[in-house]
Amino acid sequence: MSGAAPATSLTLVQAVRDGLAGELARDDDVVILGEDVAANGGVFRATDGLLDEFGPDRVVDTPLAESGIVGASVGMAAYGLRPVPEIQFSGFLYPGFDQLVSHAARLRTRSRGAVTAPVTLRAPYGGGIRAPEHHSESKEAFYAHEPGLTVVVPSTPRDAKGLLASAVRSPDPVVFLEPKRIYRAFREDVPDEAYTVPIGEATVRREGADVSVITYGAMTQPALDAAEALADDGVDTEVVDLRTLAPLDRETLVASFEKTGRAVVVHEAPRTAGVGAEVVAALQEAALLYQEAPVERVTGYDVPVPLYALEQFYLPNALRVREAVERVVSYR
């Protein structure tokens, strides 16, 4: 990824498409399957044009059956392909939940490595696009709690492409959750050629000395916005983007916390038993002696995501992050 490498300014969903095209071109074993991914190019156009480019054996419209999609993908992967199933919205993954947790996640351990399921399960997830019910869920904690699964949530186009490439090449099943709220929210220069961004590594999006905001996905931008606003008030905020939720990069977040001694965790999933709870537990386990204030959680509430008329009040925003940071930094 040298500065001179040719790059194109892409949205996150375009970067996903670009990443998929790259992996299909790189490895004949990569196969895309799902509902409306071929002829229609995906309801978000994440697979746009791939049918024409790679043909109907590589990009496959399936019947409307998530357990069939995940289960068949497990079988395909066991044969040696690299299936990349798409679930149209993460809220529709549950019919395939059993195949994911009972088989994709377990085949390797069950067979002591003899049979494996390197499936990359993509799903648009999260709220913020005024969509109907079940189109706005954030249930990444379900997947993060299942041993054997890798859970990735990109927050930028560049990361999306690179993390997706890593996921497709990973020997393990990956749940790749794409924050649809930022599918087209902004653009970034994305290298044209294939590259990988490593799974399992968080990144510091903004350095700061006073407080750590730990977040991922679509919440990264409000966290950064809050950090800018806080800077005006003299609060120097570090923003850590987890990128991978499982396995969690405890080292990076603990290091940030050891520096700042104060933290706010931000996600749009419901608070109780969310990924934020794990982050809090990890911080106090490793760095209690550095802790100067309770870690706050700015999250979705413990309610089903409301229909869109009230959605804006459900989703964490820069204001809520900022106020939490202010409480945390002023705690004595």
Binding site: G41, Y94, P95, Q312, F313
Partner: protein, 368 residues
């Protein structure tokens, strides 16, 4: 309908669709026994559904409503099937059965409220289950609900509505299998509109028909011309009768209604990407509205004057519904905490209080 008439209507080859009117509205089957005024009402409801649908799409286009799944082309099956029910029966819709819901008692304004992102649109009080967005998941609800009614000795039939794509889901299978084993008083109304978003019926399943799938569950499946409201009425009425415990041996039925959606899957969809305009045109020739209109005019039940009156009525009804829906005051932000549990646990009360305080302090602007 007597038993043998019902049997001849339902127990036919699953690939021999029941018809009453041909594409031009000429009678080719038995016209159901509906009064003249009821037939004209049926026509009115078709026109109402068509008008409502167009208006809803335009509201979405204007940013006054969120994503909306249109039903144009499918009104015949929706209204025809709803006419076959008693008030006490229950409907379990997918997201597209606006006209079924309305005919069965849901105010148009409530339907709009729902699609405007307001849960209160589903607190309509009619015998219509709240819309199920996840495909096929309402089918087991219809089965369980009907089963419970039967256990209670109540004479309630449940009708599950779903699409061709829904037949691929495990829930379709499990629900129909339960219905067959427990003889629940359920009618399965499959709106085969030929497409599940971009996937055509032939790629959804290799089964010769969808109706034929019923044999896997030990009951009858029947095809009907879903662009023919009178045929749908007859078939669903017969199936409802067969499901009624009153009859001694209640049995479920799978109805495959052959239809077409003229428009996009939803307002977020562009069907030109995956299907031919020529196909759409072919199906438009079977539009249920002119077809029924021709029949009613030919048989002297309708004339220009009545049609004009229907048009005026329909226009006003839809306008009133839009006005009522748009006049609804948005629920307060804290409404999201209502009805999560019957009684809010303390953690939820605390979260609610935090949101209330924040909203009080920063107002709408704080949430933009």
């Amino acid at each position: 309908m007597d038993r043998s008439a019902r049997e001849s209507l339902l127990d036919r080859d699953p690939d021999d669709p029941v018809r009453v009117l041909d594409d031009d509205g000429a009678v080719v089957g038995t016209v159901p026994d509906l009064s003249d005024s009821r037939l004209v009402e049926l026509y009115r409801d078709l026109r109402l559904a068509r008008r409502f649908d167009a208006r809803a799409v335009s509201l979405q286009r204007q940013g006054r409503m969120g994503t909306y799944p249109p039903m144009a082309g499918q009104e015949g099956a929706q209204v025809g099937s709803a006419y076959a029910l008693a008030d006490r029966d229950w409907v379990f819709p997918s997201y597209r059965e606006h006209a079924v819901s309305h005919v069965h008692g849901v105010a148009l304004a409530d339907i709009l409220r729902y699609w405007m992102g307001d849960e209160r649109g589903s607190a309509h009080g009619a015998n219509v289950f709240p819309v199920a967005v996840p495909i096929a998941t309402q089918i087991p609800h219809a089965v369980g609900f009907g089963w419970a009614a039967a256990l209670a000795g109540d004479d309630v039939v449940t009708v599950a509505h779903f699409g061709d794509g829904a037949t691929s889901e495990g829930d379709f299978h499990e629900a129909l299998n339960f219905a067959g084993v427990f003889d629940t008083p359920t009618v399965f109304c499959c709106h085969n509109n030929q497409w599940a978003i971009s996937v055509p019926r032939e790629r959804q399943t290799a089964s010769a028909t969808l109706a034929g799938k019923a044999s896997a569950y030990g009951f009858t499946g029947v095809q009907v011309d879903g662009m023919d409201p009178l045929a749908v009425y007859r078939v669903v009425a017969a199936a409802v009768e067969r499901a009624r415990t009153a009859d001694g041996a209640p049995r479920p039925t799978l109805v495959e209604s052959l239809e077409y959606r003229f428009g996009a899957h939803t307002t977020a969809d562009d069907p030109t990407v995956y299907r031919d305009e020529a196909e759409v045109e072919r199906w438009r020739e079977r539009d249920p509205i002119p077809r029924l209109e021709a029949f009613l005019r030919d048989t002297g039940r309708l004339d220009d004057e009545r049609v004009a009156a229907v048009e005026t009525e329909v226009e006003a009804t839809v306008a009133d519904a839009v006005e009522a829906a748009e006049e609804t005051r948005r629920a307060p932000p804290t409404a999201m905490f209502d009805h999560v549990y019957a009684e809010a646990p303390s953690e939820l009360t605390a979260q609610r209080a935090a949101l209330a305080a924040l909203y009080e302090r920063v107002g709408e602007e704080g949430f933009e």
